[in-house]
C-alpha cells in the first residue's frame, strides 16, 4: 500500500522538478506524458489493491483510500494522462504559432505535473489541513498557466482567478480551523483531530453550532473552486483564456476535486446536526448554479466560455444531487462526476484543435469542421451529444437518475431543472451544429492533432451508459451510503 501511494505522489512531484529544467526541449512533451503514464500506472496498482483488500490507509493514517476517493484517484490520474497526450501536439502547434516562449514551455510542463500532484494529494490525504494546503497549491500552480499567453484578457482572467479563489479559499481555512476546534474538544489537541477518519468516527458528538458555522465557511471557500453561482465569476474567464489542456484539467479535475472536499465536510456536518442543514444549502446553491448557467449559455460567443458555463451547470447538478442525498441520488451524483469529467475534457480536446484550425475561439469564425477534419468535427458533435444527456451515453443515465429522484423527493425543484436542461440543450446544440456542419473556414495544422484521447473518453462514457462494471457500481453504492 505504502509503495503504491508513494509512487502515485512522487511521480508527478519528480516530473515537476525534471520538467522545470528540460521543459522547453523538443522531447519535453514526451517526458511529460511519460510521467503522467507512470502516475496512472501507480493509480491503477492502487485501485487493484483496493479491489483486492478493501479500504486502506498508509503512513500512520496520514493517507487513506476508501470507496469515495478511489475512483476519483483513478479518474484524476487517467484524465491527467490523456490530457498530457493531447497536450503533446497541441502545445507544439501553439509553439510553432509563436504564442509560447521557451520559458513558457518550461513553466507549462512543470506546473502541469505539480498540478496533478496537488490534485492527487487533496484526494488521498486524510488530514483536512493538508487538504486545504494542497487545494490552495492547486490554484497557485494554475494561475500562471492561465496567464501563459500574456494577452490582456489572459492576464485579467488570471488575476481574477487568483484573487477570487484566494479570498474564497481563505474562508475555507477558517472553516477548517473551526472543524479542528470542534474536534479538539473531543479528541484532544494534535494532528489526530484533523484526520478525517478520526473525525468521522466521532461525528455525532461534534458541537452542532460550530459545525454549522464551519460548513457555511467551507461551502463558500471550496464552493468558489467548484464554480457554484454566485461564486463562479473566475471560471469562464480562466477556462477561456488559458491554454486548452489547462481548460480540460480545470473542468475535468479541479472542479471535481473541490466538490470532493466539500462532500467530506458534508458527511461530518450531517453527522453532527440533526436537521438537514448542509443538504439544504447544497441543494440551493446547486439549483441556482444550474439555472443561472443555463441562461448564460445562449449568450456566449466564445466556444471555450460556453463549455465553461456548461461545466458550472453540471457541477450545480451534481451538488444538487448530493444535497438531495439518499442512495440513488448520491449514486447518480458520483456517476455524473465521472462521466462529466470524461466528456468535458474530451470536448475541450476537440474544441482546442478546432480553434487552432480556425485561428479563433469565436464560434462565428468556426464553420464546417466536419468537411475539413471529420474526426475533429464528429468528436465535437458526439461529445456535445454526450454532454447534453443524449442516450445511450453515460450522462443520460446519471441525469435521468437525478431527475427522477428530484421528482420523487423534491418535486418543487424538478420543473426548474427540466427547464434549465432544456434551455441549455437548445443553446449548445444549435451553436455546435453550425460549427460542425456548414461551409468550411479552416486551415491546415503544422502538426497532426491528437484525437485518440477524445474518442477514448467518449467510448468510456458510452460504456458507462450501457454497462457499469460491478466493482465500480459497488464503490458508488458504498460511497453513496457514506455520503448519506
Amino acid at each position: 500500500m505504502a509503495a503504491e501511494m508513494l509512487l502515485l505522489l512522487a511521480s508527478p512531484l519528480a516530473g515537476g522538478a525534471v520538467l522545470a529544467l528540460v521543459g522547453h526541449r523538443g522531447y519535453a512533451a514526451e517526458v511529460n506524458a511519460g510521467f503522467a503514464i507512470v502516475t496512472f500506472g501507480a493509480a491503477a496498482r492502487l485501485v487493484a489493491r483496493v479491489i483486492a483488500d478493501g479500504p486502506l490507509s498508509a503512513f500512520e493514517e496520514q493517507f487513506f483510500v476508501d470507496s469515495l476517493n478511489v475512483f476519483l484517484v483513478a479518474l484524476t490520474a487517467f484524465v491527467a494522462m490523456t490530457t498530457s497526450l493531447f497536450s503533446r501536439p497541441y502545445m507544439r502547434i501553439e509553439r510553432s504559432h509563436g504564442r509560447v516562449t521557451d520559458a513558457g514551455m518550461r513553466l507549462y510542463h512543470s506546473m502541469y505535473q505539480l498540478f496533478t500532484f496537488t490534485m492527487l494529494l487533496v484526494l488521498t490525504t486524510n488530514n483536512l489541513g493538508v487538504m486545504w494546503v494542497a487545494m490552495e497549491a492547486a490554484t497557485l500552480t494554475t494561475v500562471l498557466l492561465v496567464a501563459l499567453y500574456r494577452t490582456h484578457a489572459s492576464l485579467e482572467a488570471a488575476w481574477k482567478y487568483f484573487i477570487l479563489c484566494g479570498v474564497g479559499i481563505a474562508q475555507a481555512l477558517f472553516g477548517t480551523i473551526l472543524v479542528y476546534f470542534a474536534a479538539e474538544r473531543i479528541l484532544g489537541a494534535g494532528i489526530g483531530s484533523l484526520l478525517w477518519t478520526h473525525l468521522a468516527a466521532v461525528k455525532a458528538d461534534l458541537e452542532p453550532t460550530v459545525m454549522s458555522i464551519a460548513f457555511v465557511f467551507l461551502l463558500v471557500g471550496y464552493g468558489t473552486k467548484v464554480g457554484l453561482v454566485p461564486l463562479h465569476n473566475w471560471l469562464p474567464d480562466a477556462h477561456a483564456e488559458g491554454p486548452t489542456p489547462i481548460s480540460a484539467v480545470l473542468s475535468g479535475l479541479l472542479l471535481n476535486v473541490a466538490l470532493y472536499a466539500l462532500i467530506r465536510f458534508k458527511v461530518l456536518t450531517d453527522g453532527a446536526l440533526e436537521r438537514p442543514f448542509a443538504s439544504g444549502l447544497l441543494m440551493g446553491f446547486g439549483l441556482l448554479s444550474v439555472a443561472v448557467a443555463a441562461f448564460f449559455l445562449s449568450r456566449q460567443r466564445d466556444i471555450k466560455r460556453m463549455f465553461a458555463y456548461s461545466s458550472i451547470e453540471h457541477m450545480g447538478l451534481i451538488t444538487f444531487a448530493f444535497g438531495m442525498g439518499g442512495p440513488v441520488a448520491s449514486f447518480a451524483g458520483l456517476l455524473h462526476m465521472t462521466v462529466h469529467s470524461l466528456t468535458k475534457s474530451a470536448i475541450f480536446f476537440a474544441v482546442g484543435h478546432a480553434a487552432q484550425k480556425n485561428g479563433t475561439q469565436l464560434m462565428d469564425g468556426i464553420r464546417g469542421l466536419v468537411k475539413v477534419s471529420p474526426t475533429i468535427g464528429w468528436g465535437l458533435m458526439l461529445g456535445t451529444a454526450a454532454i447534453l444527456g443524449m442516450p445511450p451515453f453515460g450522462v443520460f443515465a446519471s441525469e435521468f437518475l437525478i431527475l427522477t429522484t428530484a421528482i420523487a423527493q423534491q418535486p418543487w425543484a424538478a420543473p426548474i431543472l427540466l427547464v434549465s436542461l432544456g434551455v441549455s440543450f437548445a443553446a449548445i446544440f444549435s451553436k455546435v451544429q453550425a460549427m460542425v456542419f456548414g461551409e468550411p473556414s479552416a486551415a491546415r495544422l503544422p502538426h497532426r492533432p491528437a484525437l485518440v484521447p477524445v474518442f477514448t473518453h467518449l467510448a468510456l462514457v458510452l460504456l458507462l451508459g450501457l454497462y457499469i462494471p460491478p466493482y465500480l457500481a459497488d464503490w458508488y453504492r458504498l460511497a453513496a451510503r457514506l455520503i448519506g
Binding site: 489541513g129 497557485l140 494561475v143 500574456r150 485579467e156 488575476w159 481574477k160 480551523i177 460550530v210
Partner: protein
Amino acid sequence: MLQHYGPQLVNLLAAVLLLLAFAMLSQRRILSLINLFAAQGLVLFLATALVASITGQPHLYWSAGLTLLLKVLLLPWILHRLIRRLNVKWDVETLLNIPTTMLVGIVLVILAFNLAAPISQLAGTVTRSTLGIAMASVLLSFLMMITRSKAVPQVVGFLSMENGLFFAATAAVYGMPMVVELGVALDVLVASLILGVFLFQIRERFDSVDTRHLEKLKEH
C-alpha cells in the same frame, strides 16, 4: 505575574491588531500600507509568543518564530522590493468615501463579534475573547480588497487576511498542528512570489498596476 496579566496583555495586543486593520483600511499611501502590514505581523508575533509562554505549548513558539520570519521580515521585504522595482513606491491612491468605508468596517466588526460569540463560549482557551477580533480583521481585510483598485494594496489585503486567520487559529485552538501551519506558510510565501511575477507581467502589458484595466472580461 504572567499568568495574571498575560491574558489581559493578549487582549490588548488583539485590540492593537484591530486598530491596525482599520488603519490599513484608510491608508492611501502604498509605502505606509506595507509598513502597517509589517506592524500587524509584529503584533501577531508578540501575541503568539505571549500565548506560548502563558500556556507552555511548545509548537506555539515555533509558529511565533515562523510569523516573525515570514510576516515581519520576509514578506515586507519582498513587498518593498516589489514597489521599488515597479516604481510605485510613492503612489497615493484616491480612495472615495473613507468615512463610509469606516462605517461599513464598524458594521463588519459588530457582525464578527456576534458570529464569534457562540464559538468563544465553547472555547476553553485563555484567548477565547479575542476570537471576535480575529474574525473582524479577516472581514476588514476582505473589505479592503474590495475597495482598492490598485494591485499592490489588494495583495496586502490578501496577506493581512491570512494574518487574521492565523490569529483566529491561535485564539480558538492555540494554533493548528505544525504540519498544517508550515503548509499554509509555504502557500503564502509561494503566493506572494507568484504575485510578484504576475504584477510585472501586468505592468509590462498595461504600463500600470491599476486593476481598473482588468475589467474588460464581462458578460455581454
